[in-house]
Amino acid sequence: MSALAYDGAAMVGRQLRRVRNSPGLAVLTQLMPVNMLLFFGYVFGSALAMPGPEYRSFLVPGLLVATAAGGLMTGMFQAAADTHRGVTDRFRTMPVSRAAVPLGQAVADLVVTALGTVPLLLVGLAVGWRVEGSAAGALGAVGLLLLFRFACTTVGIFLGLLTRSEDAAGQLGASSFVLPLLSDAYIPTGNLPGWLRTLAEWNPISAVTTALRELFGNAPVPEGAAWPVAHPVAGSLAWSALLIAVFLPLAVHRYGRG
C-alpha cells in the first residue's frame, strides 16, 4: 500500500508537471464551457420558454456536469497517447505499483478539474448564477461533481488503454460530446417524448446535474422523473460508485496486462 501511495504521488506529480509545461492546452479546454455558457445562455436560451436569467442559473450546473463528463475524453486521450508513445510500456517494465499509473492520472485530473472549474463559476456569477442554498449544500455539490469527474476519467482511462491509438481516442472522445445533449444538462427533460425522457433521465449526467441544482438551490427536482433523477444525490452517488467499481479494476487490470 505504501508503494502504491509513493508511486501514485510520483504519477500525480508527473501529470501536474505536464499541465504546467503546456498551460495553453489547459486554458483551451476551459474556454469551451465558458463559450457554451454564453452561447446557450443568450442565443439558444432566448428561444426557450424559460426566462433568460432563470435559464442561465439552470444552465451553469448543467455545464459543470457536462464538463466533468469530459473526463471521459481527457482520460481516454491521455491514456491512449501514453500507450501509443511507449510511455506506458516504460512504466510497465519498471517496478512500479500496477494501480499507481491509472490512479495517479485520475487523481491529478481531479486537481486540474477543480482549478479549471473556477473560470466557469466566475463567468456563471457574472451572468447571474448564484448559490441559493446553504454553504454545506454547495460544498456537497462540489464533492459530487468531483466524484463524478473521477468516475468519468476512470472510464476514459480504461477505454484509452483499450484503444491504444490517439486517433481513435480523439474520434471517440469527440463523439462523447453528445452525451450531455441526451440529458437534462442543457434542457429540462420534462417536455421530451416518453421513451426519450426515460433514456435522458437514466443518463448519469442527469442525476448529477439535478443533484447540483438541488444542492446549489438553483432548481427543484422535477416531478415524476425516473429514480436517479427523483433522488438525485443518492442517484449521483450510486452512478459514480457503480462506474468506479466497474471501470477502475478494469483499468488497473488492463494496464497490468499490456
Binding site: 508511486d7 508537471r17 505536464r18 509545461n21 510511455v87 510500456d89 516504460r90 510497465r92 517494465t93 517496478p95
Partner: protein
C-alpha cells in the same frame, strides 16, 4: 567457475491469434556480455524483447531474467532490468530533468535530484535539461532515453534499436555509453538493424529467423563460418551471368547479384582460392573485369546467407 546467464530462456512461444511470433526461442546471454539480437523484419525480435521485459506473457516455455523467473516473479525481474527503445519511451511532455527525477523516484533512488543532474551532465544534456523532451533532437532524445534507464544501474539493459535514425556522431556517443556500461558489469541485450552496430558492440550475436534462433556465435565466429567473401565488378550487366558462372564453379555457393553496381558476390571456404587465381579464371572466361576482391565477410553477407533477406 560455471558461466552465469543474465538471460536464459527455453522454448519460449508466443502467438498473436493464429500467427506464431516466437516458436521455441532458446536464448542464453552471459552475464556482463553484450548480446546482439538480429533478424529480418518479422523474425520475432520485438516480441522476444517484449516477452523478456515482462510486457507480454509467453504462451509456453520459461525464462529467467536478472536471476528471477519471468512469469512467476515478474515484479522481481522488473527490479533488475531497464528498457530503452522505440516502444519504451520517456515522457515528451516533461522536461529532461523532470523525466529523470520521476524515474529516479520510481526506482527509490536516494537523492533523485542529484542523480538526475549527474546523468544530465554525463549525457551532455545539462543545457537542455529544462526543456520539454518533445523538443529534443533525435540524438538528444536517445541519450535521455538511455539516461532514464540508468537512474539505477540495471543488471540487464534491453536496448531496442538505440541508434536507428541517428547521425554518426550521435551514434558514436551512444556506443561509447554502452561500452562504459558493460565495463561496469551490466548485461546488454541489443536489437539493431545495423549489423555494423552489432559488430562494434556485441560479444555474441543471435540471429533470429521465423521465431527461432537461426545461428549464434561471436561476430568473428559467424564470419568464419562462411569463410571469405568473393566479389567481382564487371563492365556491364551483360557480363554478370558469365562472372556468376565462374564464381559458382570456384566457390560452390550460389552467387548473389547486385545489378545496379554490376557486381556479383559469393562466399567461399576454400583456402586455396587466391586473388590472382580469381582474376585469372575470370579473365580466362572472357569477363570484362573492372574490380575484384577477396575479403572476410561482413555481418551483412552472413545475414543474407542465413535468412535469405536483408536485416
Amino acid at each position: 567457475m560455471t558461466t552465469t546467464y543474465a538471460v536464459l530462456s527455453e522454448g519460449l512461444e508466443k502467438r498473436f491469434g493464429s500467427v506464431p511470433a516466437l516458436r521455441g526461442l532458446d536464448l542464453a546471454v552471459r552475464q556482463g556480455s553484450v548480446c546482439g539480437l538480429l533478424g529480418p523484419n518479422g523474425a520475432g525480435k520485438t516480441t522476444a524483447v517484449r516477452v523478456l521485459t515482462t510486457l507480454l506473457r509467453p504462451d509456453a516455455g520459461s525464462a529467467r531474467v536478472a536471476g528471477h523467473d519471468l512469469v512467476r516473479d515478474a515484479a522481481a525481474v522488473r527490479r533488475g532490468i531497464a528498457v530503452t527503445g522505440q516502444y519504451a519511451s520517456v515522457d515528451g511532455d516533461l522536461t529532461g530533468r523532470e523525466n529523470l527525477r520521476l524515474f529516479a523516484r520510481l526506482h527509490r533512488v536516494r537523492g533523485p535530484n542529484d542523480r538526475a543532474a549527474e546523468l544530465l551532465d554525463r549525457f551532455g544534456l545539462t543545457e537542455a535539461a529544462d526543456r520539454r523532451a518533445a523538443t529534443y533532437s533525435g540524438g538528444m532524445r536517445r541519450r535521455l532515453d538511455l539516461a532514464a534507464s540508468l537512474v539505477r544501474r540495471p543488471e540487464v539493459l534491453f536496448l531496442d534499436e538505440p541508434t536507428t535514425g541517428l547521425d554518426p556522431v550521435s551514434r558514436n556517443g551512444i556506443w561509447q555509453a554502452v561500452r562504459e556500461l558493460t565495463a561496469d558489469g551490466t548485461t546488454v541485450l541489443l536489437t539493431t538493424q545495423y549489423l555494423e552496430e552489432a559488430d562494434q558492440l556485441a560479444d555474441d550475436i543471435v540471429l533470429m529467423d521465423r521465431g527461432r534462433v537461426a545461428q549464434t556465435g561471436s561476430p568473428a565466429e559467424l564470419k568464419a563460418l562462411f569463410g571469405r567473401h568473393v566479389e567481382a565488378v564487371v563492365a556491364g550487366p551483360h557480363a554478370l551471368s558469365k562472372a556468376a558462372a565462374v564464381l559458382d564453379r570456384l566457390t560452390g555457393t550460389e552467387p548473389r547479384f547486385d545489378h545496379e553496381r554490376h557486381t556479383v558476390g559469393a562466399l567461399t571456404t576454400d583456402p586455396t582460392l587466391t586473388l590472382p587465381r580469381l582474376v585469372r579464371e575470370l579473365d580466362a572466361a572472357g569477363v570484362p573485369l573492372l574490380d575484384a576482391s577477396l575479403r572476410p565477410p561482413t555481418l551483412d553477407d552472413v545475414f543474407l546467407r542465413l535468412t535469405g533477406s536483408a536485416a
